[in-house]
Every structure is written in structure tokens, then in C-alpha cells.
Amino acid sequence: MSPAATAQKTISFTDAYRLALDEALGADPTVFLLGEDIGDEEGGGVFKVTKGLSTKYGKHRVRTTPISEEAIVGAAVGAALAGMRPVAEIMLMNFVTVAMDQIVNHAAKLRFMSGGQTGVPITIRTRTGAGAGTAGQHSDMLEAWFAHVAGMKVVVPSTPADAMGLLTSCIFDDDPCLFIEDSLTRALTGPAPPPGHRVPLGRANVSHEGSDVSVIGYGRPIRDALALAERLKGEGISVEVVDLRTVSPLDTETVLKSVAKTRRAVVVHEAPRSFGVGAEVTARIQEHLYDSLAAPVLRVASRDVPVPFAKVLEQEYLYKPAAIEAAIRRTLDSKARR
């Protein structure tokens, strides 16, 4: 839905990303974009996020690149070292696999390795997610890799307004940020943010208050959690939803505050369960709140398999809202130990 259609009151994720880029390009001459097909001569990007921007700001600031992800990220890194704020697009997250050296060995480390002399204020926008039948090489959620790399910031929005505010914060942040967009929900809409909207990095958002159990996650499953929270209210179950927004550095404080209150936690993400972000959140909660937990911290995530093509398998792969509900009920069934 275009903003006009709803009298500027709601925008889609795609609109939100574009808005953030547009405002940043307009506000700061050091901001520029680079990525495959992003210019208007190339249709404004495969997902139309950058549509109109090269026409508005020039091809020198909205640069279509060859299919060369290592060179794309590297060019962003170098330009950042020289005072620019580049926003690089990696069309889909599985393709970051060809740019890992630049991200991990360079972008994330150059500040530390230079003793603080050179920072790398780049934003890498990428998108991914299962559910659209693009199978094993076009759907992976790999955020856990980058969360494990010191120096990186990893950001995943769950609403269009957050998308706009978080992306803006990434662009103007002085550290390398990986901003992950969800392929499947890109057309979904939500309330439009005010111009200049920023959402601080490194801060989780309690998007629904509750007292019985904390559901902690980020990105797509937050919508499911909010819907559940509404629905379970009817049953007298009070669910608190904590949207991490920034996966790393993790806002442990907000997470612990919530779980200290509810004494029960369910951690949710779309990425496969094992060695995912949920493991870290779980480990931290039980480390800090062992004595006050009333139930084990449960995880809901996708299956530990490559993303399958066949719809029935793809759906089986994906985390399920019903599993979030089941986990909530399980934690409530657990008898408190103290």
C-alpha cells in the first residue's frame, strides 16, 4: 500500500527503508548508497527500495555496482575510513557469504586494530527470510554469525516505523551495522513514523507489557508474539513482548528486567534453533536470573535444516506461532521452584 492510499498514516516496510535512505541522503552529503541494480536506470532495485533515489540524488550517490559483493562492502569500508557514511546493499543475505572477509576481518576490526584511529561507519542492508519458496540459498537468517563478531552491530526491525528509525540510526552510527530486512513481510504496513524518526541502537523495546511470561525476539516473530499477547489476554495470561531490535550488542538489561518481573521466558527467532541468537539470550537469562526463574527458558525457532523448497516442508522448517503459544503455556505449567 502506498503512503498516499492511507493519507500518509501508514507505510510499508519498503516505504520505510526508502524513507530512511531518502532522508539520510538529503540530510548528509557523506551518505551514499551502493549495490546491485539500485539505480533508477536499473529499475531502482530488485525490491524497489531505492526507487527514485538515483534520480533525486544522482548516480554518483546511488551507485549501481557489478555483481561483486566483496568489492561492494570493501568500497564501503574504504569510503567510511575516509569520512563517508556508505550504505551498501547485499541483495540477499546468503550472498554475504562472499563478503565475509570485508565484514568480519575488516569492517568490524579496523577500529580496534587501529587503536581507535579509524572507524568504519558503514551500513550493510540485506534481506532474507523463508516463506516465499526461494529455498536453500536465498532464505537464510545468518544474524547469529555477525552477533558473534565483536565490533559489529546487528539490527532487525519488526515494524515499518522501527525500520525507518533503526535504519536511520544505523546510517548515522559510527560503527558497522548490519541491517536485516524481511523478504516476506516487505509489503506489510504499519503506522508511519514522523520525519527524522530515529530509534536508538542497542535498546530493546517492550512492545507489549505483561506480567506472566516474557516473549523475547526480533523481526518477523514479534508480530506473532503481539498477536498472541492480545489473544491470551482473554484467557487471563499476561504476556510481555520484548523486541530486541538490536540483536547485538544485546540489551541484556531490558531482557533481564522483563524476565525478573515475569520469571518466565520464551525466546523466539526465525533462524534455525541450534547455535542461534536464542541460545545466547537463554544463556544470559539463566546465568543472571537462575534463582528467580520459575521455569526453564524455552526457545522457539526454525528447524536445523537447510530451507526446503516444497511449501509443506518450508512451512515445517519455519518456527510456528503455535509453538510460541505452546512454549508460553509450558512455562506457565512449570511449577515455580521457590
Binding site: E70, P308, F309
Partner: protein, 328 residues
């Protein structure tokens, strides 16, 4: 299936048969997509039929193929069974990959179709490995690795060509240059005047051919395959062609200048090849109509098989992660 040793009407017809199969399957796929009877991301090879057909007639089933998301033409030319292909497109348990891989990951080792990758450039390093295995085992197998013009700008292209040349691997790097990588025109991303020019950086044989010209394609491909078979090393073969349906199915293609498109249309290889076949006397209108009917009948059957087949059982999700069967 086997190539004539010499160019002539028989060889032309052999090429056209494969090209026609590709054309008819592609047409059908697109009509299924348009009508909503098939839901899949689809990369039409329309316009590139002769390239695949022209090389495949020189290949044996035991020769290896590595291709990409835009690979249905290569797969069909190499001998992909229609039933397995269609069932995979429909995500069925009877598909080539049990519905797990889908259209972007068609595999059928019996026809030498070893890898279909969705990652640009991802196939080239693997093609080297297949060729290396054949070399180490002393097997008479060549590997054909298909990719696009855009893929020639990614690091894996460079590393792979250097290694292939160094080790004199029996591999043909077949760059199907259709002038665009997604929506980006060749000259906006690629600094070599021609992809084939890049072979020199690896002291490799580089050849450019009109991929719409059956004879030229047949000759160039034959020579490259022959050299690889004889142990004379790899070739970078650039086949110039065009894709009429844009990048993916549904791509409005607004980035293609109208006159460029019109010029390409005037050079559409399929009507020209058909006309040449008829001219050559290798087949009559009636023969070709019969051939079409035959292909379409097989396709009907394959599609019926695909639509009637069952979806994979959900238990399949845990299988084939590891060799031992079920995931740990």
C-alpha cells in the same frame, strides 16, 4: 543425442531438437505461471536455447554440467527427464530432488547434471572440482559450467579460471552473455570489451561466438569440448545471446531500451533455426509439427505426473541433512 562429427543438416536438426524442447517447456512453464497453476520463482531462458543445445549435442550423459538458477535450458539439453523436472518445480516428493531443492537446485547425476546453484559464480569453483576428479581418475568426462555475463565480475570467476588453467582441467566455462545481469546492462558493470578477453589473464583459450547461430555455436562448442576431452585444457567460451523475458518471470524489463529489444527480436534464434532446418531439408514442416506434438505430449504427461504426485512427507525435512539419514 550424440553429435554428428560434421556440421550439416543432421547436426542442425540435432541442435534444433534440443532447442525446440527448451522452447516448448519454457513456453509451458510461463503459461502455467501466468495462469497461477504453478507458483515458483522462474528465470526464463527464452532466447538462449541455441547456446545450450549447441554445446549439449557434443556431450555424453557422463559428462558433467554445472549451471545456475537460469538453467532449465542447460538441464533439458543435457538430458533432464521431464517428469523429474516438472515434479521438482511443483515441489513434489517425486521431483528430481524430492521437492527439497526446487527449480533453482535441479540435480540429476544420471544425466550428469551435478549442480544447479542460485549463487552467482558459485558453480565455477565446483566445476573445477568435477573436472579435477575426472582428471585424477583418468575418466573421459568433460565438465561444462554455465553462467552469465554478470557472473564474470565476481571473485570466484577469477579464482576458478586461474586454477583451471593452471591444472589444465577438462572444463568449459560457458558464459552465456545475454547483455544483462538482473537489470544492469553489461557495460555498466563489466569493463572487459568481451568476456572472452578475460581468458588471456589466465593464459586460457578464450573464444567468442554468436550464441544465436547454430552452426557457429556448434563449431565453437565442439572444439572446446574436444580440446577438453583430449587433455588440452579449459576454454572460456562466450556465447552472445539475449534473454527475452527479462531477469525473472514477471520482470517488466523497463530497463531494456526498446530499440535494443526490437533488434534482439529480429535476431530471435528460434524462428531462424527452424527456418534453417526446413531449408536444410533435415526435416519438413510436418516432421517438426510431429516433433512438437511429441514433445508436448511428453510434457503433458510430465506435468500430469507432477501435479498428481504427492507433496513430500513432512518427515522428509530431517532427511538428507547428513549421510546417515536423520538430522542429529
Amino acid at each position: 543425442m550424440s553429435a554428428s562429427a560434421e556440421w550439416g543438416p543432421a547436426a542442425l536438426l540435432a541442435v534444433y531438437r534440443k532447442a525446440l524442447l527448451i522452447q516448448l517447456v519454457d513456453e509451458r512453464m510461463r503459461s502455467l505461471l501466468v495462469s497461477g497453476r504453478l507458483a515458483a520463482v522462474y528465470y526464463s531462458p527464452r532466447g538462449q536455447e541455441i547456446v545450450s543445445a549447441g554445446i549439449a549435442v557434443h556431450l555424453k550423459p557422463s559428462d558433467y554440467l554445472v549451471t545456475t538458477y537460469r538453467g532449465i535450458h542447460d538441464q533439458l539439453a543435457k538430458g533432464m527427464p521431464l517428469k523429474l523436472l516438472c515434479a521438482e518445480y511443483y515441489g513434489k516428493a517425486t521431483g528430481a530432488c524430492k521437492g527439497k531443492g526446487g527449480p533453482m537446485h535441479i540435480t540429476h547425476p544420471a544425466a550428469g547434471i551435478m549442480v544447479t546453484t542460485g549463487v552467482v559464480g558459485g558453480g565455477l569453483p565446483i566445476a573445477n572440482g568435477l573436472a579435477l576428479a575426472a582428471q585424477l581418475k583418468g575418466e573421459d568426462r568433460v565438465t561444462v559450467c554455465c553462467f552469465g555475463d554478470g557472473a564474470s565480475n565476481i571473485g570466484a570467476f577469477h579464482e576458478s579460471l586461474n586454477m583451471a588453467s593452471l591444472w589444465k582441467l577438462p572444463v568449459i566455462f560457458l558464459c552465456q552473455n545475454n547483455g544483462y545481469g538482473e537489470c544492469t546492462r553489461y557495460d555498466k558493470s563489466t569493463t572487459a570489451a568481451h568476456i572472452a578477453d578475460r581468458a588471456a589473464a589466465y593464459s586460457m583459450r578464450g573464444v567468442r561466438v554468436d550464441g544465436n547461430d547454430p552452426e557457429a555455436m556448434w563449431r565453437a562448442a565442439g572444439e572446446a569440448v574436444e580440446r577438453a576431452r583430449k587433455g588440452e585444457g579449459p576454454t572460456l567460451l562466450e556465447a552472445n545471446t539475449f534473454r527475452f523475458m527479462g531477469h525473472y518471470f514477471g520482470d517488466p524489463g523497463a530497463y531494456i531500451p526498446k530499440d535494443e529489444y526490437a533488434a534482439a527480436q529480429a535476431r530471435d534464434p528460434m524462428p531462424a533455426c527452424r527456418a534453417a532446418v526446413l531449408r536444410s531439408g533435415a526435416a519438413s514442416e510436418a516432421d517438426l509439427t510431429a516433433l512438437e506434438r511429441e514433445i508436448n505430449a511428453e510434457l503433458d504427461q510430465a506435468l500430469a505426473f507432477a501435479t498428481e504426485s504427492a507433496a513430500p512427507d513432512v518427515s522428509e525435512i530431517d532427511r538428507d541433512i547428513y549421510a546417515s539419514g536423520v538430522a542429529a
